[in-house]
């Protein structure tokens, strides 16, 4: 099934997509239509062109592959499924994600993976091939965020204030993280073999999607970031 998105607004495009039902669907000439595939459960969507903000919001099991860049709020409050972006993404990718996987070939903007959470078998993951902007993993409550820092552009692997308010989950940065300031309530350590074993399958998928060599990825040191407590704001209150 093919949907040509030119001339369709987001409402019409989503209606066409819902009508297409299960199975494979390719969307061509996408030009900034927002909310693409919002809440959709079962289908495999390939998008050529540039989808607008909130691609795959509340995504509920569908698989989306974008053959180019995507904009802000990709996978907002995503519950299940996969989003693969062959390019860069804007701000707040994977906001409050609670399941499923997002793979970004290039860079991500500000506030990637903020307030990501996990519960039992629902373990979301966000893998960013390039660099991430400021406030990466802010308020992270669960799940896995991986930043690989590929494509050397002299920028640090993350911007300012990574993992502020982090109180769950894990973050892995392919860097020794020298010069990066983390807040007091997280611990960082060079990734151990055990850490690397946890993320190996994510890295394998990344290499498959974007044609990288796993060995080359593993040649650089990784840093693991974990919160020191599930209760970061146990600011002392006094009953009144």
């Amino acid at each position: 099934m093919n949907i040509n998105a030119s001339g369709l607004d987001y409402k019409e495009l989503n209606e066409a997509l819902r009508k297409a039902g299960r199975g494979k669907c390719s969307i061509t000439d996408c030009l900034g239509q927002r909310f693409l595939a919002a809440g959709i459960s079962e289908c495999e969507i390939t998008v050529s062109g540039i989808p607008g903000n909130a691609l795959g919001a509340y995504l509920n099991g569908a698989r989306i592959e974008v053959m180019g860049n995507a904009q802000d709020a990709v996978g907002d409050t995503m519950n299940d499924g996969a989003i693969v972006i062959h390019g860069n993404v804007g701000d707040a990718v994977g906001y409050a994600m609670r399941g499923g996987h997002i793979y970004v070939q290039g860079n991500a903007g500000y506030r990637a993976g903020i307030h990501m959470k996990a519960y039992e078998q629902k373990q979301p993951a966000l893998v960013i091939g390039g660099k991430a902007g400021s406030f990466l993993g802010e308020y992270q409550a669960g799940g896995t965020i991986i930043v690989l820092g590929l494509y050397d552009d002299d920028r640090p692997i993350v911007g300012n204030f990574p993992s502020t308010g982090m109180h769950g989950g894990k973050m892995f940065l392919r860097s020794d993280c020298k010069g990066i300031r983390f807040p007091e309530q997280v611990h960082t350590h060079p990734s151990t073999d055990e850490d690397m074993a946890q993320i190996e399958h994510f890295l394998r998928h990344f290499c498959t999607y974007f044609g990288h060599d796993l060995k080359a990825l593993l040649d650089s040191p990784f840093t693991t970031v974990v919160p020191d407590s599930g209760n970061p704001y146990r600011q002392m209150y006094v009953a009144n």
Binding site: N14, G39, V238
Partner: protein
Amino acid sequence: MREQFIYPDFEVERNKERCIACRVCERQCANEVHRFDAELGVMLSDESKCVNCQRCVSLCPTRALKIVKSDCRLRENANWSDSTIKEIYKQANSGGVLLSSMGNPKPLPVYWDKILINASQVTNPPIDPLREPMETKVFLGKKPERIKRDEDGNIITEIAPQLELSMPVMFSAMSYGSISYNAHASLARAATELGICYNTGEGGLHEDFYVYGPNTVVQVASGRFGVHKDYLEAAAAVEIKMGQGAKPGIGGHLPGTKIVGDISRTRMIPEGSDAISPAPHHDIYSIEDLRQLVYSLKEATEYKKPVIVKVAAVHNIAAIASGIARSGADIIAIDGFRGGTGAAPTRIRDNVGIPIELALASVDQRLRDEGIRNNVSLVIGGSVRSAADVVKAVALGADAVYVATAALLALGCHLCRTCQSGKCNWGIATQNPDLVKRLNPDIGSQRLVNLMTAWRHEIKELMGGMGINSIESLRGNRLMLRGVGLNTKELEILGISHAGE
């Protein structure tokens, strides 16, 4: 230096002639005020732990107990009240932020009490609701601006999704976590029986309550707890929580100690981990951003459900509401500064926000002036205490009201304002299974139905007195209101005349 001693606020008076040492008070008090001294064969009490929740008083079979305000006072001082001084001692002792619960208890003006309702005399006769049909049903949502017809001249009846309520009242947001399973069950069942809605708050929806979906408003807050496709699908409407009257401008924080069992599963966070709702939505910095969240929810629910945007009543509320009305929201909910909460910093609860009466009047006026009043319905909350408050709110311009504190009172709450302790002896604001089971949802829901049935009848009587037989004719009908003891500015904002005018 040792901690400053703070004399207890309350004293437990036990009538020794009546006390039979049955130890009911001891078993009922989660604060462990009462204990039995086996040697002396008498009940003793530690009043320093008492929060005056009246549980022991209510259940004492011989009416032997009374909780009284302590008369051990500090030296009188009009500037430094006892409570102000005690707050300083508490902070000097602990270094902690003062934490309180429920609504603002300060003696700030209650405008409802300074507004009087009209009645018909001689002309335009009153209507007897016992004899004549009266309509209290309301539909919340975007209304069409004009009648549209198809090619054959027939009226196009398709309109934006509406929330149908049998009376202009809904139970406002209280999360599963801040209140108990049995409290949620009571609210959900009562809302269904009454044909109104209750609101999940931001803690997600327990799987047992999906059956009450048609009478449920689900909330999407900054922490996005429990938000997923099925949750949105289950609901009658989706509410985006931007703010709350009891604590405008700050987020929520359910401590890890309350994240147990089902709460953990419903919010989808591990047991013992804090549930943090940040102060802002991190993707909303403008009305355009709000519009994006509104429409992402509409897309995810295929435009079948109205979207509510809830904000706290703050200084520029009219401009804020105007922006929200243009964001695509179907309903605006405004929560005044007396709204309750399971926990809020005292300073925020008591000093931030504005009275809902003024906020409502100015928002309704602003939306009318801009010609966009029909784009949205207005729901207000923040201490609507009676049917008279409901009628006054509707006449000031509200389509419906949110009530929560009154609903909790119906469930047994005695407004002791210590929800933050998690030791609610009435089984409401607690997750302790032994306490939760004290609230029987069969009785709880029936009491809520009783309360709202009574209010509905009172609303009809008040409307009938004015010669109005439909709530729709009352909405924004400020001629039916008069102020008493209000200054010119207050009357101007409320858009009403003074009594006698």
